[in-house]
């Protein structure tokens, strides 16, 4: 097989942080190569170098045997290297046709719509995609939007396609379709670099795997050497579990009851529609669903950030449907918000000041004046207990790493022994070590009697930690499952709105 891309000794430093160190590997024509690594292992940096966003400090890149210097993404496309970013680079208000046209490199001054439409439609046909060119982009599902991203690369005749965590936002069905699509592309002779940290799907699609750890290549595996435990061991140094062994069972007593709840979003459209949910005492109830199906509204209604317009929420028999964040907190509802930096912390304040955000009105911490001594003692306790690592004292919390910021939030939320925790995508974007820590912390509190509503898109995670799983689709609860008695496919279908599985 011929080499299409060769990386030689690529290194890149940010300040004192070595993001990539002497990375070398080859990509052959017509293969799917996966770059596997934890968050922070240097995957994104490396891809940004290959696509011309960054320039490496050292090292060389060869395309088709010729040395190239890539100074911009445009440059990379010229050499046939294109990338589908995790967050799509599409214009929501333009049509599919317009989005593709924007991406097309060599356009004539006067646009002949039919001519270009034919080019695009031919590609659609080749891969059995059924998309209307005149549809505005926002009407497309996430999966379809991703196809558009890939087609943007194909119309520019890219030979090397880089996909950055393409399955994060997809349902299992959409993922399957994506993989079929990738195999088609492979047959066409395209080379694909696939970035992921989900070991299972990686083993399914790749021909070879490059494992990165702390910016260095630790191993390159061929298909016949794939072994889940071995890969995870190479990646993080631990063996992954499918399910936690919990020595705690949820009680039969009801804790939280949500009945016929309706909530609207900012645009006045229904976010929750006739939503029902029952949570038992000391239970971890997983909520599966593709983001944007009402999860955020559910969390906000429960934590008092948003008012429902119909329905009832009762906690321990007390009606708490309408109440402010503070009242709900007093009732023992804790919340891990979706967007750490935008919701969870005051980024310019110190770690200590962020840790008291929920109970700063307590007598010991202050009444009129802040009691610095008690605050520091209180904060130091939490810092130690949750192993929060931060460099300089009094440094603003925004300088902490994502995992440590999440620890600050969790420490704060769980410190007052809440009766129920509403966790909205609590492990999103965290490395495996931090994920594990968060799971263990939640399970530990389950032992103390805390219930958790664990909202996530990651089915593996939900199966690992939940006692029961409910599926949310278009603001409705589609039903409950026990993780032991159901397979991921069924849940995946329900996440996509298919109710009965025949």
């Amino acid at each position: 097989m011929e080499k299409i891309l060769e990386l030689k000794e690529i290194s890149k430093k940010f300040g004192n942080f070595q993001a990539n160190k002497n990375i070398s590997f080859d990509l052959y024509k017509g293969e799917i190569l996966t770059i596997l690594g934890e968050n922070g292992a240097g995957k994104s940096t490396l891809m940004n170098i290959i696509t011309g966003f960054y320039r490496s400090d050292d090292g060389e890149i060869y395309v088709n045997g010729k040395k190239v210097t890539l100074t911009s993404p445009k440059d990379a496309i010229k050499h046939g290297i294109g990338m589908v970013h995790q967050h799509f680079m599409l214009v929501k208000n333009l049509t599919v046709f317009e989005n593709l046209l924007v991406a097309l490199k060599d356009k004539r001054f006067i646009i002949n719509k039919n001519r270009y439409a034919n080019i695009f439609l031919n590609i659609f046909k080749k891969f059995n995609l059924n998309i209307d060119l005149d549809l505005p982009l926002w009407k497309l599902s996430i999966g379809e939007q991703q196809w558009i991203e890939i087609i943007k690369l194909l119309i520019n005749d890219c030979q090397i396609l880089i996909l950055d965590e393409p399955t994060t936002l997809l349902t299992p069905q959409e993922t399957e379709f994506l993989f079929k699509f990738l195999f088609e592309l492979k047959k066409e002779g395209k080379s694909i670099i696939f970035i992921s940290h989900k070991i299972k799907e990686v083993m399914e699609v790749s021909d070879r795997i490059v494992i990165l750890k702390k910016g260095e290549v630790v191993s390159i595996l061929n298909k016949e050497d794939f072994n889940e435990n071995r890969i995870s061991h190479l990646m993080v140094g631990t063996v992954l579990k499918n399910k936690y062994d919990k020595d705690v069972k949820p009680s039969d007593d009801l804790l939280l009851e949500i009945s016929n709840l309706y909530a609207k979003n900012d645009k006045g459209l229904a976010d929750l529609q006739d939503f029902n949910l029952v949570v038992r005492k000391s239970e971890i109830l997983g909520i599966a669903g593709i983001s944007g199906n009402g999860q955020k509204a559910l969390a906000e209604v429960l934590t008092g950030l948003k008012d429902p317009y119909k329905g009832k929420i009762s906690l321990n028999g007390i009606d708490i449907t309408y109440g402010t964040a503070r009242q709900k907190y007093i009732h023992g509802i804790a919340h891990i918000p979706e967007d750490r930096k935008a919701m969870g912390i005051a980024p310019d304040l110190t770690v200590e000041e962020n840790l008291i955000l929920k109970n700063f009105k307590d007598k010991e911490l202050g009444g009129i004046l802040l009691n610095r001594k008690n605050i520091n003692r209180y904060a130091n306790d939490l810092v130690e207990k949750f192993n929060i690592q931060y460099g300089v004292k009094n440094a603003p919390v925004r300088l902490l790493s994502g995992g440590n910021i999440q620890k600050v939030i969790i420490a704060r939320e769980l410190s007052e022994n809440p009766t129920i925790l509403v966790a909205l995508y609590p492990t999103r974007g965290l490395d495996i070590g931090s994920q594990e820590f968060i799971h263990q912390t939640i399970i530990e509190h389950q032992k103390k009697g805390m219930s958790t509503i664990y909202i996530s898109e990651d089915l593996d995670e939900l199966f690992k930690i939940s006692d029961r799983i409910a599926v949310i689709f278009r603001g409705k609860n589609m039903g409950y499952f026990e993780p032991d008695n159901v397979d991921k496919k069924t849940i995946g279908k329900m996440m996509g709105g298919i109710i009965k599985d025949d």
Binding site: F14, G15, N16, F17, D57, D58, E60, K67, T303, G304, L305, T324, A325, R326, Q327, Y329, H335, P337, A342, M343, G344, I345, A346, P347, D348, L349, E353, L357, K358, F360, K361, G366, G367, I368, L369, L370, G391, V392, L399
Partner: protein, 354 residues
Amino acid sequence: MIRIEKRISNSQNLKSLAKFFSFVIGILISLFFLKFLGIGLIDLIKNIYYDAFGSIYSFTELLIKMVPLLICSIGVSFAFKMKLWNIGSEGQLYIGALASSLIAIYIPLNSHYLMIFLMFLAAFIAGGLWSGLAGFLKVKLNVNEIIVTLLMNYIAILIVDYLVYGPLKDPEGFNFPYSKKFTDIAKLSTFGDTRLHTGIVLAIFLLILYYILMEKSVWGYEVRVIGSNPNAARYAGININKNILIIMILSGGVSALAGFTEVSGVLHRLQHSISPGYGYTAIIIAWLSNQNSIGILFSSLFMALIFLAGDTLQLNYQIPISMVNAFQGILLFTLLTGDFFINHKITMKRRKNA
């Protein structure tokens, strides 16, 4: 190849050093311009030094200039701490001056302390309501407070102008645009035989109050949380709208007190152009000091020095007051640049050619 990178960490020493160098460079650039105007620099520095620190008297003159700057920048800092951009300090100063002048002119009182207290109160309330309006509009209609406070400056200044050119004009004032002189009852007492008035006590008191409220109190903590992240504040159960109103009223009220000390302590009457831009300079001070109380004090003193230097330039060298504004601009520019270098570093690197 030149590249700009973010500094991962930076030490306190480096920050102070960078700020200091930025100051020095700003002053050097300013001096450079003055050199072009044909001014002997050594001579000039001597003159400014003499005018600011040459005697007790000259130092008190510096402090007199500092008082309104300090008060206004405390007012502005209250709002900036919450990332509410009250840039209407100048107008609030005028409204405060107007309110205290009306009390001084129209309310016949014999008690000095009662009079001063009423003037103080009138200024605070008037200024508070004045900028509270911007807060109200922001809370109710989500109107941008920057625009409202900025435009209300002109309204305030023109109202005062109208009054001193019209209804309030001193009949015995040879047609100058100023009001009747206050009686001694309405004047702040001074220290010894200098012009330095007790307004400085008020300013220092306000600074201490500011420090306690913002750094030590639970309420100040709430304000800082809102400033840092309104979403997190809402989530922590902090009432944002209520705090916007309180902060705007407080910010405007405090700024208005500068108007009170100016008319009661220095001018002893209401007049056209009470302030050479103290309210605007206060924005720079609040920004430079990062709303830190000690920083506010020193930045105010420094800006007062620049105003004083402006006087020196006018009196001894016949150079217009706008030069002072230019120097402020240059200093702000170098300090901002310095700030950039505190947060970023520039690396030069030759690319190896294979």
